[in-house]
Symmetry: C2
Subunit: 274 residues, 2 copies
């Protein structure tokens, strides 16, 4: 079985670039020349988003290893939006890019199983097994604990996929819960980081990283450094770079000696970096 994080690392080495491009198609940000080709409704907006995404992918697929479509921006366009999300994922894969679906799913065990099937696993109907979105990685929310994450870990093992668990997020109010200090002196995000370490133990690939990895915001450089030590085998997906205020020197702290830090400065306009 393939190991998803090995594949990602190899793609990063091949492109000599640790950046992932976020594909969050906001209608008002899509060039007018594309928007004007389509109807002014959710169907047209979804088609414009897909065309724009394809154009972006065409431009960057030889220099950037991965895309991260944020499903919320497709969901807000209803069924046509979800179709555009699905087509975007397919197109990026065709162009040899790794797809990290930013879905932040999380639920109790049986429901998490269903979410996992949709993103990285397969759905069985009668005797037929079908892939749904079939992305390489999906982001997940840890608030429900181990049994909400386990199905994703199982599917990662079974299908050579992976997850990024929210540990410390890039937004301003992330500290309200994530920074709370427990009675033994550890912060909540450290507790989550330790769980991520546990969950990922069986999926460490040949480069020493696990396919069960972590989201740690670029906007919190001190925490990045701390979490690098707590989760030595976790690969970090570091959102918050660029539009959200994270700088290249902040991100550097999240990389260890194997990290390809040197190219980060090239992509200041992109909102996400690994």
């Amino acid at each position: 079985m393939e190991n998803a994080i090995d594949n990602l690392i190899e793609k990063i080495k091949e492109k000599n670039n640790p950046t992932v491009i976020g594909l969050d198609p906001r209608y008002e940000m899509i060039p007018e020349c594309i928007r004007n080709k389509y109807s002014k409704d959710i169907e047209g907006a979804a088609n414009a988003a897909l065309e724009f995404n394809k154009a972006l992918i065409d431009e960057v697929s030889d220099i950037i290893p991965a895309v991260k479509p944020q499903v919320a921006f497709y969901e807000m366009l209803g069924i046509p939006g979800i179709k555009a999300f699905n087509e975007t994922c397919k197109y990026a894969k065709q162009k040899g890019m790794i797809v990290i679906a930013d879905m932040k799913r999380g639920d109790i065990g049986t429901t998490a199983e269903a979410y996992s099937k949709a993103a990285i696993g397969k759905t069985m109907v009668g005797e037929i097994e079908q892939s749904i979105f079939d992305v390489e990685f999906v982001t997940v929310n840890p608030y429900l604990g181990t049994d909400g994450i386990k199905p994703f870990v199982e599917d990662s093992k079974k299908y050579g996929k992976g997850i990024f668990v929210l540990v410390k997020t890039s937004n301003k109010s992330s500290g309200e819960l994530q920074d709370l200090v427990t009675e033994d002196g550890e912060k909540i995000y450290v507790k989550v980081a330790k769980l991520v370490n546990e969950w990922g133990k069986d999926l460490i690939g040949k480069y020493g990283y696990s396919s069960i990895s972590a989201v740690v915001g670029a906007t919190y450089p001190k925490e990045l450094e701390e979490l690098r030590k707590v989760m030595p085998s976790a690969y970090f997906l570091i959102p918050g770079y660029g539009a959200q205020g994270g700088k290249a020197e902040d991100i550097a702290l999240g990389f260890d000696k194997n990290g390809l830090r040197r190219n980060c400065k090239c992509f200041k306009k992109l909102n996400v970096c690994i």
Copy 2:
């Protein structure tokens, strides 16, 4: 502007029943006579799910006030599944039921806005504003703090909708994070409960409850009692009743003197109760 929780309470009074029916269509649980009408693939499974849901809604809409479709079970059927989810929500509304979409969404501010638009708000494309799933309530995850919840609160105000925030979930490992005790002696779920109280202050309706309310698992009766005191204005969505092991006497502790406790025992086979 209408108040969503008032509408729900009035519907509960009208039916004299505080139960919500979960619509989590697992293929293997759908009667064979329905399954056999359709192809054995995700398209057929989605059609079977929709037919089954409609039949259930037809049966219960005169005695049960609300449905709670769990979107994961539709998402695992891909685009046809999301269509079935959308049609299920529409059909339940046509039949006069309140729809609580169990989506457990949560993200940073701008992304939470997009999720909120999809579920309870509206999407603007050019000068046209369109509803997407247009449900009355959506469940949300609090791990990202206030700015991940605020957009849902704003849309609740603007469109007369509401949310149920995960406070204490019904699954076995929910305690791994939710039960951690902070240095000031309070558990994480109590911290979340206090935030829910804050978030809901401006949306308290005529019955004293807020449209910004809480999910508290029936499988944790002691916590239900405790949280009833911490969130006096929160209406409780109490999953875990039935299949997950929660009993009527456990749930009773989550109701206050205004709660319509007496009918709970009638619906032992349903997996969710409010």
